[in-house]
Amino acid sequence: MTKQPAAVVGVGQTHHRAKREDVSMAGLCREAIDRALEDAGMTLDEIDAIVVGKAPDLFEGVMMPELFLAEALGAAGKPLLRVHTAGSVGGSTAIVASLLVQAGVHRKVLTVAYEKQSESNAMWALSVPLPFNMPVHAGAGGYFAPHVRSYIRRSNAPTHVGAIVAAKDRQNALRNPYAHLKNPDTTVESVLASQMLWDPIRYDETCPSSDGACALVIVSEDVAAASPNPAWIHGTVMRSEATTAAERDQVNPQASRDAAAALWKQAGITNPLEEIDAAEIYVPFSWFEPMWLESLGFAEENGGGWRLTESGGTAMDGVLPVNCSGGVLSSNPIGASGMLRFGEAALQVRGAAGEHQVDGARRALGHAYGGGSQFFAMWVVGAEKPSN
């Protein structure tokens, strides 16, 4: 039995902010859900199943959100699943929802991912000292900075490339009404002048800490027929690997390369740089744009990524516009950040991205990663129904 076609017909998100003290977690989720349902022209009652994702438990001190959220999510009497893959959770949650439709189990699935970073302290949660160990951990920035340094060394990248990414994404965010950071004055020079936090990562090359949520409505072919602009799902892939292993490639992990290869094959894509019109790539620290461009096969390893970024190829008017929404660097409700990438990719191929729309986008990539670069979730969505 082959996969059934599935499409995104509703996308909703909150206005991401440092603190959303006006709403509870349930209220935050419902803001995104209500917008996604309105976009889909649907009510909660019509939904067959709900799939929820959130950030790691210690980030919010909530271990089983599905228990207290069930009623608010409209899940009474329906299947409710929770997905958990660290920072990539928003992406893998959307994929699990899409698989329920592609498998023919459900026809209308609602998926939502959220995080209220303001209720906790992610830096603390990622750095809890353990007995017997050396307490040199320093949050996500402390974890990824050495690997960014490795990339710069391997690829002989000029040190300002990270700043190019940060300035581009902050400027893109000005076109996205939902984005958290709105800094019109951010330039390459201002990024380079910002404080060095985790050398070689500067303050302005770092994602913010946001409260926010994202929701998608994913439906079967017959339901999608009623939508004026469904985003058809052309491929979905998840891959994992160990956090630490002897000679593990931390710059370009095997799981990432394998996931990308499988994704392009599924989507019938042979030249991603030519065939993808817009990409929403999970870039929490600026340097991960060139790193993932190489890992995903948009550019050659050990330098193609930074050359593409430096040439302006990833700008709104470039050969591959990357993170037209402003990306994770402009809004980072961690639990939702992956789903925002997936949802923004869907908005692009639906022609519904507003001021950050890429003209004529027909196929787009949504990408998320998590843990110590060990969980990967990706999808390709298209304006056309998939032929495979």
Binding site: K116, E119, S120, F132, A246
Partner: protein, 321 residues
């Protein structure tokens, strides 16, 4: 001697919860010694009010004050209370339907024996003297006196003023952190001033610390290999940012050190050189704390410092990045 080492670890944080308008209204009521329920689309009054209607899914916005008295619908006896429970003496958890409400509400009933609890019994709220807008503003429930709850100082008509919008939820989890047998051997070696890894019998890689399951093939590492106390910095970052719970004062260099004889780097602190002079490929050696301070920890090595030798060739460690 036990096979494995273990040590206590406490993970604690005071989470700051935003209540949203519905639960905020309920908690505002408690602060003002009033019980607030929400009326659902089916006309039922539920305490605490649900944030969203179970039938229409709309936000609840019809609030109703109910009585501080009610009837027990079910209960369970707690003979040995644990820390954090409403009372430090035996008590009952009860479901009570407050007068004016249609659904039961869970709280603690302060009686000294299970013989004093029964389904159908009448109870009343005992307000806390100091109320802050939290469920603990109800100190507990007690058998009804007929006169209703003892009056407390609560201004009339204040409901809804200065609404409660947040609560602080302290969470504290006490764990016994257990090292695996393989890791325990490593920590015991550190207690003797040695750095002892183990070789995986399948892929032949030397793991420091050793592993119960090699991440490449799942085999437990076995053959002990004492590695050198000298190694190469593969990559590193300079931590300039202070954060909650930090143990080392920034700025400091956190580096991956690939010890000679090991196939995986360990993360450690670099001192004895200005941070901006630390390089990839720099050769470093372990500097131990005084022996009388040794425990079973990687912290027995105070830090690594440069040996002064020429840097390692990039090709000797590039496959460890």
């Amino acid at each position: 001697m036990t096979r494995t080492l273990s040590a206590p670890v406490t993970v604690a944080f005071d989470y700051t919860r935003s209540t949203g308008p519905v639960l905020g209204r309920f908690l505002t009521g408690l602060r003002d010694a009033k019980l607030v329920g929400g009326r659902t689309s089916e006309g039922k009054v539920v305490v605490p009010p649900p944030e969203f209607d179970p039938v229409t899914h709309a936000a609840i916005d019809d609030f109703v004050e109910v009585a501080p008295t009610g009837t027990v619908t079910s209960w369970t006896w707690v003979p040995e209370p644990v820390a954090g429970q409403p009372f430090d003496r035996p008590f009952a958890f009860v479901l009570v339907t407050l007068d004016g409400a249609d659904a039961p509400f869970l709280h603690a009933l302060d009686v000294s024996s299970p013989d004093q609890v029964s389904t159908g019994m009448r109870v009343q709220v005992r307000w806390a003297d100091e109320r802050v807008g939290a469920i603990t503003d109800i100190a507990g429930l007690e058998p009804a006196t007929g006169n209703g709850p003892t009056a407390v100082d609560a201004p009339e008509g204040r409901l809804g003023e200065n609404p409660v919008t947040g609560v602080i939820t302290p969470v504290s989890l006490d764990y016994q952190y257990a090292a695996s047998p393989e890791e325990s051997a490593f920590y015991r070696g550190l207690n003797e001033g040695r750095i002892v890894g183990q070789r995986c019998p399948t892929c032949r890689k030397v793991y420091v610390p050793p592993r119960s399951a090699c991440p490449a093939d799942g085999t437990p590492t076995a053959e002990e290999v004492e590695v050198s106390q000298t190694g190469t910095i593969t990559t590193f970052c300079i931590v300039n940012v202070p954060f909650l719970g930090q143990k080392i004062t920034p700025p400091y260099v956190s580096a991956y050190v690939l010890l000679d004889g090991a196939d995986i780097a360990i993360l450690h602190l670099i001192l004895g050189v200005p941070a901006d002079e630390v390089r990839m490929g720099m050769r470093v050696k372990a500097v131990w704390k005084p022996e009388e301070e040794w425990t079973y920890s990687l912290e027995n090595i105070d830090h690594f410092e440069p040996t002064g030798d020429p840097d390692a060739d990039y090709d000797t460690y590039r496959h460890h990045l």
